[in-house]
Amino acid sequence: MSALPPYASPVQRIWFYSFRVICGLIFFFLIFPILVILPLSFNAQDFFTFTKEMLALDPAGYSFKHYHDFFTNPDWQQALTNSVMIAPIATLLATSFGTLAAVGLSQSHVPYKPAIMAVLISPMIVPLIISAAGMYFFYSRIGLQGTYWGVVLAHAALGTPFVIITVTATLVGFDRSLVRASASLGANPVTTFFKVQMPLIVPGVVSGALFAFITSFDEVVVVLFLGSAGQKTLPWQMFTGLREQISPTILAVASLMVAISIVLLTVLEMLRRRSERLRGLSPG
């Protein structure tokens, strides 16, 4: 499939090119909606479509006014602050608990492993609306509903399965004799963990942390139910914006978030390559 052999028949030739065109169209479907909001976010008008000036590439058709609105509007700024306050703490909780548990799970004799694994992975499987409903009922009972810590704990719980999965995946390639070597040289388990094990599994921990971060940073269903006006995050503000008073500032925010995704994706890809190189799986 990678290249057309010289003896290909005309039918094969036509199929080869039409298959590529079909794939091109599907890639277009995947990427176009994300790319189209970038130019639209510079619209000088309050429209959600290309104006005549924009199509004529007239500089007057473009402006930074939606970005300006985002950085000056107190509602959006409050939402940004809240997101920045919630996501890192939730990530920290999820990553520290998750890494410890993944190290524990990777030992050779873990009793009740399937049952434990099912419980730990469950936040990822249960549909968000059900998690949100359950947490809303339960957190109202114990007085956490509508509080900062309620949202942080919920987001941390939702992020842990990603940490478990990524860290366990890096631990699969981890050579257990290194731990024994370190112990035989007199290191205690804590030193062994931080000096020997940790540096080797760090790519998994970081990518797990990134997953946990993006889970919290993007999460809207749970915060919609659990949060009060004081915990209004960026996705929540976007959600209300889209549902009620649709304002083009959303496109500016969306473009900034695409930029964040690109940064995250790049970091993850670099981590993956590093981890492959360390394990000698480099594609060359």
Binding site: L100, P127, A254
Partner: protein, 421 residues
């Protein structure tokens, strides 16, 4: 090995039997791994599993009648509902005593709105009686006074509802979730025009299947292309799959809102090339079309990634062997390549299906009224109608469906083989 004769037990240096020492070491190792897992396990149990269990409990819990009207509930046990007579004076006296306390604590309106889910008019009945209770004569007779306050207290239906919902647990929410109700003749379906939940479950199922099939149709060629290209170019194209995967859900939903609107980019383009006239702009949003398009786009990476990881492992030599044995391109693909990619199809399809039946945000924003899912109804009952019991029952049904599907997923892929990115 002359010194290990039968009957002699191997010991460690300090004289302990070897088996015991090994068992001890194993136990210590188990304890250590459990100690490492314990913090997270407790954390997840408290912050996540307990809420889910609470929700399951709420879907059958019904202590409000017994808590608000404890004496009436006891007195009503004596009453024969089939007699065709309203209860006697003793029950009305108990009701007076209960309501006097309830009005003091202002809990009677809550009970009224709870019972209103089962029978219309109960909320206003309790409000009205609550206002009159202070003016009633404490000496009785209570029956006449209650009938004077509201004629509904003299109706069998009112007392039947009270009696039916006096037990601590109820199947009423689940009956409502199945569009059924309990009448004098037992359980029967509600009239056709009141059946909404079965319709919604059916629609959720139908739309999820459509979305899964669309994802498969669009995802299979992409995964095939990515798996067959050299690593360098497939890594480059992979970015086009991973970027949408990593982009915020709300960003993608707002993009589709922008594209699909009547005054949006796609309609403008179609009008500009003259395919449709300005007056006949397509309605692609706030209906099922909107939900299907946007959700197919959002879930497509979840189909491509598992398919790709399975196709990566299919050796190209099999197809080459088939062709050298005389198979044409189609036969080689259909009889040799495709069967090997079936596990990937299973994994991707179940994953997309699980994700889509629980979706809330996208249908809420682009689905209008005809494109919403059962989750939107759950959210409505939590935040607008405040019928939490029904929300919990609907949630429980959805959860059971997802758990069944997940067991299937576990059988196909295995929970340990979930890969990310």
């Amino acid at each position: 090995m002359s010194d290990t004769t039968a009957g002699e037990v191997l010991t460690t240096k300090d004289g302990q039997p070897l088996k015991v020492a090994l068992a001890k070491a194993l136990r210590r190792e188990k304890l250590r791994s459990l100690a490492l897992i314990a913090p997270l396990l407790i954390f997840v149990l408290l912050t996540f599993v307990a809420p889910i269990v609470d929700m399951l409990f709420r879907s059958v819990e019904n202590s409000i009648v017994e808590e608000t009207l404890p004496r009436t509930v006891v007195a009503l046990r004596e009453w024969d509902a089939d007699s065709g007579q309203v209860p006697d004076e003793a029950v009305y006296a108990a009701l007076y005593a209960d309501l006097a306390v309830a009005v003091e604590e202002k809990t009677h309106t809550r009970l009224g709105s709870r019972l209103n889910y089962e029978e219309g008019g109960m909320s206003s009945l309790f409000r009205k009686t609550g206002r009159r209770i202070k003016r009633m004569d404490e000496a009785g007779p209570f029956k006449e006074q209650f009938l004077e306050a509201d004629r509904k207290w003299g109706e069998l239906a009112t007392w039947n509802v009270l009696r039916q919902f006096s037990p601590r647990f109820t199947d009423g929410y689940f009956l409502s979730a199945f569009d059924a109700q309990r009448t004098a003749d037992g359980i029967e379906m509600k009239p056709d025009n009141e059946r909404i939940y079965m319709l919604l479950f059916g629609r959720t199922l139908f739309l999820s299947i459509v979305i899964t099939v669309s994802c498969l149709v669009l995802g299979y060629p992409i995964a095939f292309l990515l798996a067959s290209l050299p690593l360098r170019s497939s890594n480059l194209l992979m970015i086009l799959v991973l970027l949408p995967f990593w982009t915020s859900l709300l960003v993608r939903t707002s993009a589709w809102k922008v594209l699909l609107q009547q005054q949006g980019v796609i309609n403008d383009f179609l009008v500009w090339i003259g395919l449709i006239s300005d007056a006949n702009r397509l309605v692609m949003i706030n209906n099922q079309t909107g939900t299907i398009i946007a959700m197919t786009h959002i879930l497509l990476p979840f189909m491509i990634l598992p398919l790709y990881s399975v196709m990566k492992t299919i050796s190209p030599t099999y197809v080459r062997a088939a062709k050298s044995l005389g198979a044409n391109d189609w036969t080689a693909f259909w009889r040799v390549y495709f069967p090997q990619s079936v596990p990937g199809i299973g994994a991707g399809a179940v994953l997309v299906f699980i994700l889509s039946i629980g979706y809330y945000i996208t249908p809420e924003l682009v689905g209008g009224t005809s494109g919403i899912f059962i989750s939107n109804r759950i959210a409505y009952h939590i935040s607008s109608s405040l019928n939490w019991g029904l929300a919990a029952a609907l949630g429980t049904l959805l959860l059971v469906a997802v758990m069944v599907l997940f067991t299937v997923y576990d059988k196909i892929v295995g929970i340990d083989n979930v890969k990310l990115g």
